[in-house]
């Protein structure tokens, strides 16, 4: 055991390991905060959908040889998030169908564009990197760290400041709107924040694994806790611990970072589900 700890403290000497740990924990914090409201509003798949959009637009940005692909990826993803999370009587295509169309469509277009315009010799490798995050979390720079700190400060501030409104809009949007809460604005705010977090989180765990960060911690928390506040606090705690644990395990064991974090999340979900079962039996 002490060997493992000395190994970890040895790795922590390297700045890139510390950066990975900080960024990983912060992204996990943001995505679990958003995850609770997304899962409750039946948008569990939005992580997958939006990350596919980000994949597609990343490919297009690469084809256009943009130096900073964020300027294309972010607006496109935000637009899609606003389109998917919009609510109201005028919605023609229902949420899940729209999501499935956008997810499948942008995946195909992305790969098509990459294939036709790619300048890289290792196309399969590029795709794999975007989808699974590969090792990019271990190549983070100080700028990435600053960006994710700023992002999580903003996300946490939004959730602290608008906590009660977010609860009301999630629980019953019609009631909130009818009694004078600006439900549409809060919805748009959540959609934009979701898109931003997903685009930035893609660097960490890759497109395909973001969904796991959004869904597992809230599901784990919901199987045990019964009030909204407790679920929120528990989801964030679980997510942060799982991310930190996953990164440390992947460094020590030499496994891929993204999938290790998700594996730890799956473990925690099973643990919480069993606890929930036992607690309900005892009550």
């Amino acid at each position: 055991m002490s060997e493992v700890f000395s190994q970890i403290s040895f790795y922590l000497e390297f700045p890139f390991v510390r950066y990975a740990l900080i960024v990983g924990v912060l992204i996990a914090l943001c995505s679990s905060l958003l995850g609770v409201t997304l899962v409750l509003r039946r948008y569990s798949f939005i992580g997958t959908g939006l990350s596919n959009v980000a994949f597609g637009s990343t490919a297009i940005a690469a084809a256009l040889t943009l130096t900073n692909n964020i300027i294309l990826v972010l607006p496109v993803t935000v637009a899609c998030a606003l389109f998917l999370l919009r609510t109201g009587a005028s919605v023609k295509v229902k949420g899940d169908a729209a999501l499935a169309m956008i997810a499948a469509g942008s995946m195909a277009i992305g790969y098509l564009v990459m294939n036709v315009y790619s300048t890289s010799a290792n196309l399969a490798g590029d795709v794999c990197t975007i989808l699974f995050g590969a090792t990019s979390i271990l190549t983070l720079t100080m700028t990435n760290v600053r960006v994710s700190i700023a992002l999580s400060v903003i996300v946490v501030a939004i959730f602290l400041f608008f906590y009660h409104k977010i609860f009301a809009v999630t629980f019953d949007e019609d009631f909130a709107a009818a009694t004078g809460v600006r439900a549409k604005s809060y919805n748009m705010l959540l959609a934009v924040v979701t898109a931003v977090v997903i685009v930035l989180a893609m660097d960490l765990v890759g497109a395909l694994l973001i969904s796991a960060l959004v869904i597992f911690p809230p599901m784990a928390a919901m199987s045990v806790f019964r009030s909204f506040r407790a679920v929120m606090i528990c989801a964030v705690t679980v997510s942060v611990i799982c991310a930190a644990l996953g990164i440390l395990v992947s460094i020590v064991a030499g496994t891929p970072v993204g999938s290790t974090i998700v594996a730890v999340n799956i473990g925690s979900f099973i643990l919480f589900s069993l606890t929930g079962l036992v607690v309900r039996r005892l009550r």
């Binding site: 608008f162 906590y163 009660h164 019953d172 009818a178 009694t179 019964r226 909204f228 506040r229």
Partner: protein
């Protein structure tokens, strides 16, 4: 001036008008029951009154000073709420949000209002329980308590007894009747006109077969009797 005036209203969705030429008024202290079959536009009318939908034509005029956040609303339950992890207190308290503006926390008077309304509906003991673990009747009372936190003047109820057994429905109707006696103006949707006639003061019937009817309960029953009489002859 009437609390609520609907003047020559047409409601529905872009392509489809459900009701047109609808005019009626609601005075302070009234208990209006909106009746009609499924698809006759009851819920659409209520959503239009609440401002969740825009009328296709015509006007909805509120008495001076009646603002959005003085109106309470008991919607039909949605699928999302069935397994929502929220305590009863959290749900009831969210009824107070309308007057908080951008303020990120609840004031003490709002917390007290929530507690008073839970007391009023006999759900104080359930305060810490999870909403998803309650019975249908208890859930409806929680949502009614939430609506009361918002309702200073006017309370709109969309099928408050939907899905409840006879006993739970009777409890619900008694609570609503009591609220009306306490001075709250009530607009309630119900497909059970017989039952509603025992409590309401006015009836707006959107029945597609019989055409529109708006008037007092006495006038409604009179009209029903006349129609019955004609049928018998």
């Amino acid at each position: 001036m009437a609390l609520l005036t609907c003047d020559n209203l047409a409601i529905g969705y872009e392509a489809k008008t459900i009701i047109s030429n609808l005019s009626f008024t609601v005075e302070r202290g009234d208990f209006l029951c909106i009746a009609g079959e499924n698809g006759s536009g009851k819920s659409t009318l209520m959503k239009t009154i609440l401002g969740l939908m825009t009328p296709l034509s015509g006007q909805i005029i509120f008495a001076d000073g009646l603002k959005n956040h003085e109106i309470g609303y008991l919607p039909q339950q949605t699928a999302v709420q069935k397994d929502f992890p929220a305590s009863v207190y959290e749900v009831v308290l969210s009824g107070c949000l309308g007057y908080s503006g951008l303020r990120p926390f609840y004031r003490n008077e709002e917390k007290n209002l929530a507690k008073d309304n839970m007391e009023r509906l006999g759900i104080s003991a359930l305060r810490r329980c999870s909403y998803r673990e309650l019975s249908g009747g208890q859930q409806q009372r929680v949502l009614l308590a939430r609506a009361l936190c918002a309702a200073r003047t006017l309370l709109l109820l969309d099928e408050p007894a939907a899905g409840l057994d006879t006993a739970a429905a009777a409890v619900m109707y008694e609570h609503i009747k009591q609220l009306n006696s306490d001075g709250l103006t009530i607009i309630m949707i119900s497909h059970d006109v017989e039952k509603a006639a025992e409590y309401a003061s006015h009836i707006l019937s959107l029945g597609t077969g019989k055409g529109l009817f708006f008037g007092t309960v006495a006038a409604y029953l009179q009209a029903e009797r006349t129609i019955e009489g004609i049928r018998h002859e």
